[in-house]
């Protein structure tokens, strides 16, 4: 596997590069800003780009902009955004543009090489990666009427892994259950929360994140009404986010998604894999 590392702080950049090299991942290029990153991706054609969200010249969202450009121009290159912000907004913005093969991780997490390699492997599998700290923060959000209370412990666990971007298959492997069990759990969760999104679709991550950010009214709603009621008072007001929630409810039959934007969530097994296989996460 070949990656490009884009990070303006030399210490961090070299640390990540060294971790990757030690783990047997080839670092094709190390760059310090978005422009060099795009150039390096064009030239070296890596499998993934690890990108700091905040880079010169403005130190704002260069990383996100570059990520969108890479995903559009080079659909085969995964992008992992590194950030110091526990900020669901950025993660959701990333996912809205390109729901698959993008990830948002906190920087401190990548210094655990197992986490970093796991994330890269999941991206290569076509999954999405959302930092568990962000998911945990959304779960701990105060709500007036908490439908999450209706979920069983195992269902909450599955919901958290869905929010982190894992596919059913990955969740099944993580929880040592069958994929069919996970599918059943996900279906049940979506029913209980009133989520209309196709539980098998790639967009479900966004739908779950949007749900976790919303503040449902304390009225008991039937599942069919919940989506519409929430859409009126969803707490994340950016148009992309709101439309994300709506997209989650839109049945596939009424909306034609471009194939590249709606990949199958399950790994087909045809992706490239390094010699000797992937290093395994200690959690698995």
């Amino acid at each position: 596997m070949r990656v490009v590392v884009a990070e303006d702080v030399m210490l961090t950049r070299e640390g990540i590069a060294r971790l990757l090299t030690d783990a047997g991942v080839e670092v094709a290029a190390e760059v310090g800003d978005a422009a060099s990153l795009l150039g390096a991706v064009r030239v070296t054609r890596p499998d993934a780009a690890i990108v700091d969200i905040r880079m010169p010249p403005t130190h704002t969202d260069e990383g996100l902009v570059a990520a969108q450009q890479i995903r559009t121009e080079h659909p085969g290159v995964s992008v992992l955004i590194l950030s110091q912000y526990v900020e669901p907004h950025y993660a959701m913005r990333l996912l809205e543009e390109h729901p698959g093969r993008v990830g948002y991780l906190l920087k401190e997490r990548v210094f655990d090489v197992a986490n970093l390699l796991d994330a890269l492997r999941r991206l290569a599998d076509g999954e999405t990666v959302v930092d568990p700290t962000i998911v945990a923060r959304l779960f701990s959000r105060k709500r007036r009427a908490d439908r999450l209370d209706e979920l069983s412990g195992r269902e909450r666990e599955v919901l958290g892994l869905v929010a982190e971007g894992l596919s059913n298959r990955a969740i099944a492997a993580r929880l040592f259950v069958t994929e069919r069990t996970v599918e059943a759990h996900v279906k049940q969760i979506f029913l209980k929360l009133g989520l209309d999104a196709d539980p098998g679709s790639h967009r479900r991550v966004l739908a779950v994140l949007a749900y976790l950010r919303s503040t449902p009214l304390p009225t008991v709603l039937r599942p069919g009404q919940a989506g519409a009621a929430r859409a009126r008072q969803v707490s994340s007001p950016a148009p992309r986010q709101r439309s994300g929630a709506e997209r989650g409810r839109t049945p596939h039959s009424t909306r034609a998604w471009p194939g590249s934007r709606c990949r199958l969530p399950l790994w087909s097994g045809s992706g490239p894999s390094p010699p000797g296989g992937w290093p395994r996460s200690p959690r698995r």
Binding site: D61, V86, E87, H89, K142, R213, T215, P237, A238, P239
Partner: protein
């Protein structure tokens, strides 16, 4: 005034040169009437065959109307305190107008025709002077001043030469007076003849020059100024044409025979032009009086506490000068402001625009920039308007100070925000990065310890790593509290979403704000909501609802909660909102802020 005095403005009391005293004018007017009556008598008697007035009833009527018209206009201008010497010039020109008739009084005292001969030459210079000093009483360009000086000098020279050396007996062109010249010192017929012909052609040239100067003034003048010039300049041009034509005809006929049809036609045209000129002078007086009455009405309306700037628009309307501007002088700030307190550059005189400084007990109150054609604006502004001006100046000063105060408050908040942002950046790029590097080093050390099988070191390093991550988390929350990066990068909508994520109580955000606003507005809205949510949590509220929307040019932010008691006054948020010119009210249900957002 010292250094406080604006330099370009003309002190208004210098704008009006001295005038003849009233008794002198009354006498001149009576004399003018007598001269006119006498001229009629002369025309009916000895001048029957030698003057235009005597040649026909029309000639008499034109002569009397033109001369008396000028005298009447002069009187009216003098009585209404018109600008400069205009009235006196008109009186003088009117009297001189009758001189050619008096020349024909051959059976009277010989002094009269002699004086009349000299005086006749001064009608033209007086009219040129009168026309070119309209409407301000001063000649406003160098060509005009040169022309006026030249025609006076030439008339004086010609008059003296003819008086001293012209012997009517030997003058081939003599008609009305062929007998007397009491001033004659030595008879020099060729010289007198040459002077007469030279005078004729000089006058013709000067008449053409007058037409050119009048045309140039009309072309240069702005709309309202041209309106004032036209009624006098057009007849003046007509008169100049007649003067030039007379010179051409006389060159052929030598003798000015009133029964010559061409000459009489020229005379009629010239007289009609003078009559129109006199009428133009009187109409100008009427116009000025109307403007003054309107200005007086403004004074009467001043007791109704007018809005800032209304004095300027009222004066502009009254004087038919839409470009009129009043700049108020602020001695404390050493600058000029308009009525609403905004700083304006010091008005300066430009082509077509004049400035008048208005003072009160030696201090400058205001400088008025107005069309150059408005004569004596100072004299038109009565005491009541002066009070109004002083009042508006004080108001402008107050508004300027308020604006300065508001800008200063906004700057303080802006500086504080910039410092907050800088602090957040420093934490992000400094301490947080170094802690990350530290946690990386700890991991490396831990890997080495594990490789060597050093379990105690591994345990200690694991603890250190966990501690580092804890500090990192706390530092991140601190940086976010100082200034949320998402606010600057994504705007108020996403920032409020994050605020709701981490709030200590359920927070519902209503209203979707997708637009970006100035950083100060976004920061003010955000920190107001943050303070209100904290306050709600402190009072034990079960939930809070945040509404945000734009109404007109204002961002409306409302935070409602179900906590007991009134919301706190929220001083910090109130200061922020106030610094941007908005308002914040707190009450039982929460708070409501209105923030101007451009």
């Amino acid at each position: 005034m010292g250094r406080a005095g604006p330099s370009a403005a003309t002190p208004a009391h210098l704008a009006a040169p001295g005038r003849l005293a009233a008794p002198v004018r009354a006498a001149a007017a009576l004399a003018g009437l007598a001269v006119a009556a006498g001229a009629l008598a002369v025309a009916a008697g000895p001048g029957r065959a030698t003057t235009y007035a005597g040649s026909s009833a029309a000639g008499a009527a034109l002569t009397v109307c033109a001369g008396l018209g000028l005298i009447a206009a002069g009187l009216v201008i003098c009585l209404t305190r018109g600008p400069g010497w205009t009235g006196d010039l008109a009186l003088g020109a009117g009297v001189c107008w009758f001189a050619p008739v008096w020349v024909a009084w051959q059976d009277g005292p010989p002094l009269i025709p002699s004086i009349a001969m000299v005086a006749a030459g001064f009608t033209f210079p007086l009219l040129v002077h009168l026309v070119l000093t309209r409407p301000t009483g001063r000649a406003d360009s160098k060509p005009a001043r040169v022309l006026v000086t030249a025609v006076y000098a030439e008339a004086a020279l010609t008059g003296s030469a003819l008086a001293l050396f012209r012997d009517p007996y030997f003058d081939p062109g003599c008609l009305a007076n062929c007998t007397v010249n009491v001033f004659l010192v030595r008879s020099l017929p060729p010289l007198a003849r040459a002077v007469e012909i030279g005078d004729r052609w000089f006058t013709a040239t000067a008449a053409l020059a007058l037409i050119v100067v009048c045309a140039a003034r009309l072309a240069r003048a702005s709309g309202p100024a041209r309106q004032r010039l036209l009624p006098v300049h057009l007849p003046a041009a007509g008169f100049a044409v007649a003067v030039a034509a007379r010179a051409v005809v006389l060159q052929k006929t030598t003798v000015e025979d009133p029964f010559n049809p061409a000459l009489f036609t020229i005379f009629a045209i010239g007289s009609a032009a003078v009559i129109l000129l006199a009428a133009g002078l009187v109409s100008g007086v009427g116009r000025a009086r109307a403007e003054r009455r309107t200005v007086a009405r403004i004074a009467a309306s001043l007791d109704q506490a007018p809005a800032p700037g209304s004095l300027q628009s009222a004066l502009a309307a009254a004087l038919h000068d839409p470009g009129l501007q009043i700049a108020y002088w602020l001695p404390g700030a050493h600058s000029f402001v308009d009525a609403s307190g905004r700083a304006v550059p010091e008005p300066s005189a430009t082509p077509g625009r004049a400035v008048t400084r208005l003072t009160r007990t030696g201090r400058t109150v205001a400088v008025i920039s107005h069309s150059g054609a408005v004569p004596g604006i100072e004299s038109q502004i009565g005491p009541a308007i002066r009070l109004g001006l002083e009042n508006e100046r004080l108001q402008a000063e107050l508004l300027a100070q308020l604006e300065e105060l508001r800008a200063s408050r906004a700057r303080i908040v802006e500086t504080a925000d910039a410092e907050r942002r800088g602090l957040e950046r420093n934490l992000h790029d400094g301490a947080q990065q170094r802690l990350l590097a530290l946690s990386y080093d700890i991991r490396l050390a831990r890997a080495a310890a594990q490789a060597e099988g050093d379990a105690p070191a591994d345990g200690a390093l694991a603890e250190a790593a966990g501690e580092t991550l804890g500090v990192l988390g706390e530092l991140r929350d601190l940086a976010h509290g100082i200034y949320p990066a998402v606010l600057a990068e994504a705007g108020i909508g996403p920032a409020l979403g994050t605020l709701a994520d981490t709030a200590p109580l359920p927070v519902q955000v209503l209203g979707a704000v997708h637009d970006r606003y100035p950083a100060q507005v976004e920061a003010t809205a955000y920190f107001t909501v943050a303070e209100a949510v904290d306050d709600a949590a402190r009072r034990g509220a079960g939930h809070a609802t945040v509404s945000i929307s734009q109404e007109g040019g204002r961002l409306m932010v409302t935070v409602e909660d179900d906590g007991p008691g009134d919301a706190s006054p929220m001083v910090a948020a109130a200061d922020r909102v106030g610094a941007l010119g908005g308002s914040l009210s707190t009450g039982r249900a929460g708070c409501r802020a209105e923030i101007p957002c451009g």
